[in-house]
Amino acid sequence: MPYPEVMAESVKKVEATRERRLRETFPRLTPQEKKALLESYHPDYRSETFRPLAVGPNAGQKVPNELADLLEAFSRIDPDTFDLSRVDYETDVLIIGGGGAGTAAALTAQEAGTRVLIATKLRWGDANTIMAQGGIQAADKPNDSPVRHYLDVMGGGGFVNIPQLVWALVLDAPLVIRWLEQLGVMFDKEPDGTMITVHGGGTSRRRMHSCRDYTGMEIMRTLRDEARNRGIQALEFRPAVELLLDDAGNCVGAILYDLETEEYLVVRAKSVVLATGGMGRLHVQGFPTTNHYGATADGLVIAYRAGAEMIFMDTVQYHPTGAAFPEQILGQLVTEKVRGLGAHLVNCDGERFIYELETRDAVSAAIIRECTTVGKGVVTPTGMVGVWLDSPMIDLLRGEGTIRKALPAMVRQYERFGIDITKEPILVYPTQHYQNGGIVMKEDSSTSIPGLFVAGEVSGGVHGRNRLMGNSLLDILVFGRRAGVSAAQWAKAATLGTPTLRHVKEYHEQLIRAGINTDRISPLVLPDYTAPHTRIRRLGGVPVG
């Protein structure tokens, strides 16, 4: 038993109730119960952690304080002195972000006959895409239909999703799966080719396709391999820190920052695809996150500064099952596939408190309720609180060996710290996972800025106020592919005006007029996890916030 004594006693209770729980069903929430649960316990309802924006297209609308700090900040670039006449790269379509959405866009833009260039913050493929373990949704089984998929997405999102985007998502889904199949993605299949599919939270049909629990990794490495085969170039370690607009307001490139040589580079393009992902590394409300190191909302910041409108930025998705023990993997993802395969969530007494495949917002709220008001969380030696995810049930339900075959990444993750998830439950607590909203887009991935297209987590609208599992890998590919096509079409017709940073200058003026007196600069680019005492020394003894 790897668990310290205080936790081990609770594990015994979990084991004691397992036989009984295997036979019992737990009721789903009614719409009224779900609403009440969310309003009382979901972090989105802690109003003091949000504030209305002072400037920009969404002025007056509330966003998390951590994001507002970056939106109400000044550029790294001085728009008055920066020399845009010295162009370092010139291309038809510039794709900012080298994750799944950006790489998909690069492939389709190139197929459409344009020159493409990817600029990305870290290595090509270092993105949340590779961390998506559980699967990708598509209604492709005989008992399923895109219409059912639509209904599940709308219900999961609180019925506020932009319908046209949801239709694009669900109707393109089978085409995306076929595209991946033809690129050689190894889906979990029966010998005759039938996809092995399971449920995710909020699905009414088993439509979660997977590649063991390395689904995003398998998709990302395949797309990147294909892009390399096709000679697509990626500028690694060169994140975008500002967009360029021309006289007519069209997006015509970006300024990149080389993280190693510390140079600013000017890229001229006829159109731009923004696929920079989300904001997990802002640690909204102090939550740990499942997200990649580079998930710092850069895309939101530079697009908003350029005048792009955002939607649903007052809602953040907390994944119900982030690791709460051991300390070393705090907040890391425990895939929803664990619940999809049948594992229960239980409290310190080994009792269930929520139907496990409710939507993520509801399950997270229920765990928070159990650990606060109800007082039946399990406390770790370092003071974290969580509930048990009873993973050993999966083998009991589906046969010995299922966990090792279906969840090798999870087994390995915990084995590194001496925990055998086939025999022992794991402790979990909600963790910041996904940016539900983002830059408003249309079905063709276009935005309110001509020549600027968005795809993936940086975009908003398709998932409403809560995304379902397996719809993010789908989203990045559906809209990544669409963005590539649209950006290519735009590039073919575009005439290049003179690039300017006038929007940055005007944004700065708005900030000053709004009385925002700050030395904050953005985008953040990377979080700083160095210890406070080192930061103080770096600044010559001046304490930092």
Partner: protein
């Protein structure tokens, strides 16, 4: 959430690229580097054991063994000597996956160096995923694409195998080729997917889509609340061959 528990944290010594730092016991190598004041650009990625960016090399004091791991998944020990591998060059051949045949000739033509394997098994010993790297290279060399794809599936492409291989094989790129050959040419396409795409192309859902589009918000919510949920079918999820 956390409840406040204040406690003295024991400090240990680590040597980062030879420089000594005191850091709290129990940190991962990645967090120890950061605690010591290093703002990482290279050698860091997902921070969760999935991306392979943080391949790390270390020795324990007085131990002849050179150890490797992922910095985000390896806990520090007292008097550990460590560094990150910022980048390691590997060979990546280009090809048109459509045109390739799933056999040994394909792999040997693109990556002939797989035949230089000395069977030293270092690749397997250094793999932080505990994959049987040497065996998948052997499978690839003899044209057993399915085996190479299966054995290499959990690869994170961290490149530690490639950094240590005396035969200078770029294992993880061979593995990618094997998996793509398998996924494209050996695994049968999903028949239900073919059927669904045909139905979509023929417009079979157009009427249902139009009906759904015409619903009022109330009707949509009622339909959602009343929708039936497919029961879970409790069978083993994966039926992969064992050897």
């Amino acid at each position: 959430m956390s409840v406040a528990i204040q406690r003295e944290v024991e400090q240990v010594d680590v040597f980062i690229m030879g420089k000594r730092y005191q850091v709290p016991k129990g940190l991962t190598i990645l967090k120890a580097l950061e605690y010591a004041g290093y703002r990482l650009v290279r050698g860091v990625g997902c921070r969760a054991g999935f991306c392979g960016a943080c391949a790390t090399v270390y020795r324990k004091e007085g131990d002849f063994r050179l150890r490797v791991g992922l910095a985000c998944q390896t806990v520090i020990e007292d008097r550990m000597y460590l560094t990150q591998i910022p980048f390691y060059p590997a060979v990546k051949k280009t090809y048109d996956i459509e045109q390739l045949r799933p056999d040994a000739d394909t792999i040997l033509r693109l990556y002939p160096e797989v035949t230089r394997c000395l069977q030293c098994n270092t690749c397997r010993k250094v793999c932080p995923q505990d994959l049987d790297v040497m065996r998948y290279i052997a499978a690839a060399a003899r044209g057993d694409i399915a085996k190479a794809a299966d054995l290499s599936f959990d690869c994170l492409q961290c490149g530690l195998c490639t950094s240590r291989c005396p035969a200078e094989i770029s294992h993880y790129n061979v593995a990618t080729l094997a998996r793509r050959l398998y996924g494209r040419h050996l695994a049968p396409p999903a028949p239900h997917l073919t059927a669904r795409i045909r139905e979509l192309t023929e417009g079979q859902f157009d009427k249902e889509v139009a009906q759904m589009r015409a619903l009022s918000p109330d009707q949509l919510q009622t339909l959602y609340a009343e929708r039936d949920i497919e029961p879970e079918e409790l069978v083993p999820v994966s039926k992969k061959d064992e050897d």
